[in-house]
Symmetry: C2
Subunit: 416 residues, 2 copies
């Protein structure tokens, strides 16, 4: 993997660049589409590519349990298994770039954090977290136990017992074969006290080193890039310490190829926390803000030096009938759209909107009828909206118009 910065925005941490992976380039800042179980929900790979998406993410925890990482390996890796293809400028199709998370967050959110109502306290950064059918069951037992060497947990599918260590996480991710993989970390609950946060952070750092060591010992490290994850909750000193440790961590001169910024944030202090971290992380390596992706957050993150984002919101909101527009989010199920024969957005170039083919009235009808096409058309629009917002921000860095774009966009976006 190679990362080249093309332009930096004066007096900020923002930059535009290009990541080159064995499966093609990613223009950064970029939005990564989340395909938890090797599919971006309700979309086929051509529909995903049509939104401008350049890279997709699969969840290690889910793919380890189903279909199993060995099967994905036999299929030729995640990109090939899910048939994630992009066309280059000449129209030639090939398997595109992929990434996998480490499984740490899912073990936490489906295991240890299961049943804790932390969604009311903080901005939840993980896709699987807000799934009401899981989180509403507050009497559910804690399924995961965190020990010094790793995490034991019961599968949410069949109750079978599993034990994931840092080495095991990397082994699974080697089998999944994504271009970018992540170190195994503990994502702490923000309701834990500072003493626990520190203990967990130390554990995350020990695990990071084990991941790096295991990764270095395998040939996969020649073509899979390993990102270390910075944790530290909401505490300034822990966050800064974590950035320092992860940035400098190396095993016989083998450093992390990039960085993830993980954990829970309160919406209002997220930008501060991201800045603390990115001022310390080495400029020449890419940074991924894990699980964050609302429009305001994208401007904030990019201004503070983030290169990559992933989030399930475009597709999850889409499946629930909530659509992004430049004037804010709308709920297409609202009866006022029943006879609105225009597209979601007049000037949108997505498959759903372009040429006015699918009207608000039609999409409203599909949602009322609980038809699958509803979620598909809405997800295409939302993913296109977010991916292209990040592309516009990228362009504004190149053009030195970032602040104009930010001001205009956020002013309009607040209208609804």
């Amino acid at each position: 993997m190679n990362f080249k910065i093309e332009k930096k925005l004066k007096n900020t941490l923002a930059r535009a660049g290009v990541i080159t992976t064995p499966h093609g380039e990613i223009q950064t800042p970029a939005f990564v589409a989340v395909g938890t179980k090797a599919t971006i929900k309700s979309l086929n790979p051509d529909q995903v590519a049509s939104t401008g998406t350049e890279i997709v993410l699969g969840n290690t925890y889910h793919l380890y349990l189903q279909p199993g990482d060995e099967i994905v390996k036999k299929a030729g890796g995640l990109g090939k298994f899910m048939n994630w293809r992009r066309s280059d400028a000449k129209g030639n199709e090939s398997i595109g770039p992929t990434m996998t998370d480490s499984g740490g967050f899912q073990v936490f959110s489906l295991g240890a954090a299961y049943g804790k109502e932390i969604s009311k306290v903080v901005k939840i950064t993980d896709p699987s977290f807000l799934l009401p059918e899981r989180f509403d069951d507050s009497d559910a037992p804690r399924l995961a136990k965190i020990g010094a060497d790793g995490v034991s947990f019961k599968s949410h599918l069949d109750g079978s017992l599993h034990y994931i260590t840092p080495e095991k996480s990397i082994e699974i991710q080697h089998n999944l074969g994504a271009d970018i993989i992540f170190a195994f970390d503990e994502c702490t609950s923000p309701v834990e006290d500072l003493r626990y946060q520190e203990e967990a952070l130390n554990r995350t750092h020990r695990w990071a080193e084990k991941c790096l060591e295991y990764h270095k010992s395998k040939d996969n490290s020649k073509y899979q890039a390993l990102f270390g994850i910075v944790q530290g909750g909401r505490d300034e000193s822990l966050r800064k310490k974590s950035a320092q440790v992860i940035a400098e961590m190396n095993v016989e001169g083998k450093y992390f190829d990039g960085f993830g910024i993980g954990g829970s944030f309160a919406k209002e202090d997220m930008s501060t926390a991201v800045k603390w971290v990115n001022e310390i992380l080495p400029e020449e390596k890419p940074r991924h803000l894990l699980g964050i992706g609302e429009p305001e957050d994208l401007f904030m993150g990019i201004e503070n030096g983030v290169d990559l984002f992933d989030c399930v919101l475009p597709t999850r909101l889409g499946r629930n009938g909530t659509l992004y527009t430049k004037y804010g989010k709308i709920n297409i199920e609202n009866t006022k759209y029943r006879e609105d024969f225009g597209p979601i957005e007049d000037d949108c170039e997505c498959y759903t909107c372009v040429g006015g083919k699918f009207s608000r009235a039609y999409i409203c009808h599909l949602f009322h009828g609980k038809e699958m096409l509803a979620g598909t058309l809405a997800s295409i629009h939302n993913l296109h909206f977010i991916v292209n917002l990040v592309k516009k921000i990228r362009q504004s860095i190149l053009n030195d118009t970032f602040y104009d774009l930010k001001k205009d966009f956020l002013k309009n976006y607040a209208k609804h």
Copy 2:
């Protein structure tokens, strides 16, 4: 509407032809894709067109209740509302042909027949019928009442009361604006006795005349073709009588533009019943066998003079993981497909199979994971399979190879 027979198969009732509608041509025999609520479940219109589908059907009962036929009219009619487009030979896209049923069957199956376990007695011909969530509720009340002038029923959505007469059915279908519409009929339950069947048939014939009269009085009759429906259950004399009456029915010289063959059949005597009817119906007008579409039935129907078929099975079976192959149906959720990295069918040209992009292993995984893409990929394959089987049968009529194709296909198809 115009119907031109290109070739007849000697010593049978089979023929290949072309129906010309205001929205383009349909090569017959043809399979009509069912889009109950103005969407072919889990597919977008481009995916439907990619299967070779030339015409789609919407259900009057469902569209009347939601979103309402007035809204579909304001949207520019069913084809435009659902954005059903096809490309012509030059690649120019335009709204394609559509049809609507009369609502009679849905009123029956969701109303009067609600809770009757007739699916065990006979081959069920209607899409909406086999939905287990409706049919399993055997304690449900009868919601519909059939009177001399029409049918009163409660909406399955909100319990609101409605009254549909033959005139109202045609008025709704004029609003929906499909190229081919159907007369309002009573589809009797096959468990009713002969006396009731005869009474119902007489009512269906009276209603047919009212439909024809109302249709003739409106400008819509200039561009929407009205098909009369032949009923009569499993009784030879009633079926023949119905064919005779509907064939000869006219209002001041205005006849039906084509014919539907409706009702329930036992699988084993369906071919006889279809033959009785088609030997009587005028050769120069198209005939549609309503709600039938298994491979064996397509050969049977075409051999006995059927030009059009519709059925939800390709998409419903697809959503349940059952896939058509030339060696019979397979259940892709079977564990033996977990590591099967070939496509559903090696030589299939559908989006799902072509180029081996989506493997059986991947589709098996998507079904196990309850992912929406599972139903989409399976439905594309199944619809492509059935639509192209009918296209092959058409070609075999033109080439005089019908019996070779039938023998080969059915021999292979029985293998699984």
